[in-house]
Amino acid sequence: MSQYESDKKTGGWKDSNLYVSLSGFWHEYRKHKIGILGLAILGLYIGMAIGAPFLATHDPSPTAKVAPHFLAPQWMAFFDPQGVITNEYYPDPFLYEEPNFVTQGPNKDEFSYSHFVAEEAGERNYVNLTWTHNAEPMYWRTPYDIEGNLPDSLDFVYFTRNFTWPFNNIPSDVNMTLEYGVTLTGDFATQEAGGIMFRVYMWLIDSSGNWRRVYQSSAPYTPTLQDRRIDLNYFDVNEAFGGMVQDENGVQEDPDDTLTVAVGLAPTRYFRNYLNTHPEDFYTGSVTVQVTEVSLIAYGEYFGILGTTDKGADAWSQLVYGSRISLYIGILATALSTIVGVIVGLVAGYFGGRTDEILMRLVDFLLVIPGLPLMMVLAAFLGPSVENIIVVIAILGWTGTSRIVRSQVMAEKNKAYVESARAIGASDTYIILRHVLPNVTPILFANITLGVVGAILSESGLAFLGLTDPSQPSWGRMLADAQGTGGFYNGAWWVVVFPGLMITLLSLAFTFVGHTLDQVLNPRLRER
């Protein structure tokens, strides 16, 4: 009972100055638990919208494929500890730390290396592998490695980084990336065959010391940095990861679960014999390989915080960025419809007569037009940009506001203080702005908050029907994708549950705040 009685005693603070009324308002507001809860949730959402770039782990675009589709959230691996989590496993893809450098062979003095850490914005970290050759013989592997896992020369340079493979399983697929550029000088640059005298390699080395070559470069080379994306084949993956899987006796082939990635530069056999010449005897010059990125992504059944969508995009990043669209459209559409509704309501209520008649007939007209279908038609005709969606939602949203404002204005305008203001010659604009409007505003606050709920739900509905911008991450569109591609037929309940939960919680927060505002500010409505 107390909640309802307290409202009636609080006429006082509304008439005093701003500070008193604000603190009085807050004093009254905080008595309502759901109001506080609503504000707290709202705060979280606003934080999420502002912090989206920091919270998102991947590209939020709904079409940015980062992994296979419908992967489960990572935390679901709790029930399946050996399930492979899709992730980047190379410990330092952008080479911030100095890797292990190795030069080997009797001529290892020909090779050098360096590591550079970016200091200014726009620079990138890189590792340089350099081979400087002065006409003299190299030392060759005899016979050559038939499988081609090892370079032809015994003299070469490489750098390594290792990581621990945490699962007792083979990943379903592995993608590696190597970004590098090659600078040539001397005979390597001028001779026609200079580009086939060396190769850039990438190997996976298991803890038993087996080298598996996963990449070798081929001519021509440019100093410009270029991405090489390498999709490891089944045999590569099996060879590199298979030794780390325990058999039923708990024994595994490799001594431990460490896997090493090596990137190297080595001469090829053509350097020894090319069209019956011996380039090693007359070449002078250098090869410099600048490596800026090495990455290894292993795919499994699990991915990221919330798994992947039907298009293989990261669901969490979309969810985080979706809060921006919902808040933006919800608030702006309501602001627009409130402005229109207040103006129409003030004008109609204050001037009455024919103006009132025309405006209210317009409202009647809009009320018999079916709401969602009209929004669909307008959204389809105007196009799916965010601004258009805001306008479409606002077009139908103002009628309720204008009716409320009008009835309040009609109640206020005949009161004595308005009469006296008019008597001393105040203009209509002055009376509306200074006397009528301030008395109408408390009514509006609850109305505005509840209007945001309507706008958010409308936006999600339009997005669900595919009438919003397809490149924008939004919760409604995530649900549409889940529905259209049979999200849960594939067992991917997470693409159905979480976006809807986000919409519900956000509109619930606004509903709670609006309900509380209604109780605090408009007790008159209930007393009638």
Partner: protein
């Protein structure tokens, strides 16, 4: 001013409103033609076919859809006139897509929509009023706060998502968990696989009806829950308002017990505004529920509006708009009249 005069005035006003809606529809659905110069016929025939057609044949083709190729201002006036005449004679034209009369297409789906919207509205209204009354008897109680919070939660729920969740739980996971013991259909209005069973069986009609009800259950629950929150809150707030009136005090002073006060004096008065709300609900009933019908692939008008809109089948959309507007206007009128009949305090004028 008496009731007769009031009714006449309202009827004239209703007619004007219908005219306004009809005109609005004309311009709304010709916006692409007006702004972009694209006509629906362009989507039907290829550029090549258009060049091979004679002027006469092309005009005939356009005329079928009440259009004129490359219209000037007089053609627009002519088109508008034809449109107005057609709309008021109930000739809604033919669908661009199926080439069947629009009215047939609509009638095919109307029973499904009425079934879905009707049952769900009735369920929502009955439960809403019932719980609303129960709770309003003791405002501020734990029960009341809980029910209000639940209603606010429903108010904030995207209904189509609720549908997706129900579909996922009851049509996908439960059948798998219970080995098909509890199972609801994943999509559709009726199961066409049972066609032979239904046609060759003397009880075929019953089987078909049971099948439709089986399909109806989940979307009906979805829409019922979606509507419930509003009715509940409205009923509760009305009744709490009414219970502060003087005549309730009088009733209590007479020594009536609280139940009698609540149901005889309170409920009767609080139901009056509900009549308007209920009438308006049934006014928008053929509107369908586009989102829920889409989720459950229900063969109804709501989904039909959207599907037709996407493939630019304007005659269908404009006809449905027109019908919805007329029903809404009529429902509004009936609500006002009912209000007057039920509440003798209302004076017309």
């Amino acid at each position: 001013m008496g009731l007769r005069e009031y009714v006449i005035r309202r009827v004239i006003y209703m007619f004007l409103l219908v005219v306004a809606v009809v005109c609005f529809n004309f311009f709304l659905f010709r916006l692409p033609t007006l702004i972009l110069g694209v006509s629906p016929v362009d989507l039907m025939i290829s550029e090549e076919l258009r060049r091979n057609l004679t002027r006469d044949a092309l005009e005939q083709l356009y005329l079928r859809f009440g259009l004129v190729p490359e219209p000037d201002i007089f053609d627009w006036i002519y088109m508008f006139w034809r449109y107005i005449v057609n709309m008021f004679t109930g000739n809604f034209g033919i669908s661009f897509v199926t080439q069947k009369p629009v009215i047939d297409e609509i009638m095919e789906r109307l029973p499904n929509t009425l079934l879905l919207m009707g049952t769900s509205s009735i369920v929502a209204i009955i439960i809403g009023i019932w719980t609303g009354v129960r709770v309003a008897a003791e405002p501020g109680s734990r029960k009341d706060v809980g029910a209000v919070t639940l209603a606010l939660f429903i108010y904030s729920l995207p209904i189509f998502w609720l549908g997706m969740m129900l579909l996922m739980i009851f049509a996908f996971y439960l059948p798998a968990l219970t080995n098909g013991l509890i199972s609801f259909p994943l999509f559709g209005t009726i199961n066409y696989d049972n066609f032979a069973l239904v046609t060759n069986n003397p009880l075929g009609g019953l089987i078909a009806a049971a099948d439709i009800l089986h399909h109806l259950f989940l979307p009906m629950i979805t829409l019922g829950v979606g509507g419930y929150g509003g009715y509940f809150l409205y009923m509760r707030n009305n009744l709490i308002d009414v219970m502060t009136e003087d005549y309730i005090l009088t009733a209590r002073a007479k020594g009536l017990d609280e139940n009698q006060v609540l149901y005889k004096h309170g409920l009767k008065n609080a139901m009056l505004p509900m009549v308007t709300i209920i009438a308006m609900t049934f006014g928008f009933i053929i509107n369908g529920a586009t989102l829920t019908e889409t989720v459950f692939t229900w063969y109804g008008l709501g989904r039909y509006i959207f599907d037709s809109l996407i493939i630019l089948d304007y005659p269908v959309v404009q006809a449905i708009f027109m019908i919805i507007a007329i029903t809404a206007i009529l429902a509004n009128f009936i609500a006002d009249l009912l209000y007057g009949v039920l509440d003798p305090r209302i004076k017309y004028g």
